[in-house]
């Protein structure tokens, strides 16, 4: 039990809440890496997923990207890009964005593809253009799944951004890499606890977001069935 109390002591001691190695600063760096990687992945994955889902093609590509993305070991990619680019920012950006793309792409594609054909046909019959169908019918109906994809990506990136510390960057991973190197397990456990809490907070945030954003009509339908 001393392990947990050590970690707790570390967490609540005021010196860990100030300065360049303080928790707020490390948390901000962590969120910065996560945010940038997620934004890049979002800009690539969601439009492509929407287009493929709307046109009902490219399923094979999506499944392949998903499988490949899951198989790709992030640590290996981080280390490889780091060595190849002699330590540029790409070393954390490329692997984290690559990690974030598959869940967003697959869920967006599946979400749009799963929209009932009768709905889109009805919309078409009402004279909507393809663009209107996508924007007013398919995206709202697919929204729960699209958000789920973004949530999955966000959780994975938050957890994995830890690895950035291995190649000398900041973020919450610093506590873990430095703590392990110096055999300071209270620091390691404290850092791990902050990361777990952050991942759970992201999970909670997205669950809340789903409740707020998903149209009321769809929510009622989801509860009824």
């Amino acid at each position: 039990m001393s392990y947990f109390s050590d970690a707790w002591q570390w967490l609540i001691s005021s010196q860990n809440w100030h300065g360049a190695n303080g928790i707020p600063e490390r948390l901000a760096q962590h969120l910065e890496y996560t945010g940038i990687a997620l934004a890049i992945a979002l800009v690539i994955a969601v439009p492509v997923g929407l287009a493929m889902g709307h046109l009902r093609r490219g399923g094979f590509v999506v499944v392949t990207v998903a499988n490949f993305g899951r198989a790709l070991p992030t640590l290996g990619l981080v280390v490889l890009v780091f060595v190849l680019t002699a330590g540029s920012a790409a070393a954390w950006l490329v692997p984290l964005a690559a990690l974030a793309i598959p869940p967003m792409l697959v869920n967006t594609y599946e979400g749009v593809l799963g929209v009932d054909r009768e709905l889109t046909d009805a919309a078409r019959g009402m004279g909507m253009t393809e663009w209107q169908i996508l924007r007013k019918v398919e995206i709202p109906v697919a929204l729960p799944l699209i958000l789920l994809g973004i949530r999955t990506s966000a959780i994975q990136v938050v957890a994995t951004a830890t690895i950035a510390a291995y190649i000398g960057l900041g973020g919450l991973g610093r506590y873990i890499i430095d703590g392990l190197a110096r055999n300071e397990y209270n620091v390691v456990a404290g850092g791990a606890a902050v990361i777990v809490l952050l991942a759970l907070a992201v999970q909670g945030l997205f669950m809340l977001l789903t409740i707020v954003i998903v149209p009321v009509g769809l929510r009622r339908q989801a509860q009824a069935s």
């Binding site: 790709l72 070991p73 290996g76 280390v79 060595v83 190849l84 697959v106 957890a159």
Partner: protein, 253 residues
């Protein structure tokens, strides 16, 4: 590649460790997930709390769990195996539940009419029909597990992940490539084996329309909502069957 051949003893050693660390959690996962999944379908009230638990485990960063466990298991294989088992459970349980729920009611009714008891129906009718969805979950869990083991290298237990840290320290890209290629190959091989297992376990699926389309047809003829479609379909192709399962959950809970 000549480097890998020259160091084949070392490569073999880490390959073996990697397989052991990645596959044991899957084995534990499926052994636990099937009875738990059956329970969740049989006693419906057990499902919501277990679903919440699995989504928490799914969100739990594996590296952080490794670190928390160090104090209890020190630097042994269990430090990696336990978190990966929890992760595989978080993917497998929702898929087992989705798979069992995707069994069409008329099929179950036919089994009951033929005199099958609950246990016999579950084992001989429901589980075989749930195999495609369960295997979809197994594929996600296995491929992820093979890839995630390498993160354990940060605490010194990472199978082929050794080549990443060692290659980085020696500034030797060949070694990193060898690690990457072997991990991706392992993932592809086991993914392929699971696809073969599915074909072997579900011979009646051969030559039928792709599952998504067929599901749609089934749900339409049954007059049900598109709910069954969403759940099974996403678990089948969707990312992280667990995640897909939850997504479907909105539609078919």
């Amino acid at each position: 590649m000549s480097w890998a051949w020259q160091n084949r003893d070392q490569v073999g050693h880490y390959l073996g460790q990697h397989l052991y660390l990645a596959l044991l959690p899957i084995l534990f996962g499926i052994v636990v997930a099937i009875p738990v999944g059956i329970m969740c379908v049989r006693w419906r009230w057990t499902w919501p709390p277990i679903l919440s638990l699995t989504s928490i485990f799914y969100a739990m960063p594996s590296l952080a769990l490794y670190l928390v466990l160090i104090d209890y298991t020190s630097f042994t294989d269990w430090t990696v195996i336990i978190p990966l088992t929890l992760f595989s459970l978080s993917v497998l349980i929702p898929n087992v539940v989705d798979g069992l729920r995707s069994v069409p009611a008329p099929v179950q009714q036919a089994a009951v009419a033929m005199g099958f008891g609950t246990l016999r129906r579950t084992v001989q009718v429901d589980l075989p029909l749930a195999v495609p969805v369960i295997i979809a979950g197994l594929r996600v869990a296995t491929v992820s597990s093979i890839s995630l083991v390498s993160v354990g290298q940060l605490i010194g237990i990472g199978g082929l992940g050794y080549f990443f840290t060692d290659g980085e320290q020696r500034d030797f890209t060949t070694e990193i490539y060898v690690g990457l290629v072997l991990i991706i190959l392992l993932a592809l091989v086991f993914d392929g084996l699971l696809v073969l297992a599915r074909r072997w376990l579900t011979p009646w699926e051969a030559g039928r329309a792709p599952r998504g389309q067929r599901r749609r047809a089934v749900t339409v003829t049954l007059g049900g909502s598109s709910a069954g479609l969403t759940g099974g379909h996403h678990a089948h192709a969707g990312h992280a069957g667990g995640g897909g399962g939850h997504g479907g959950g909105g539609g078919h809970g």
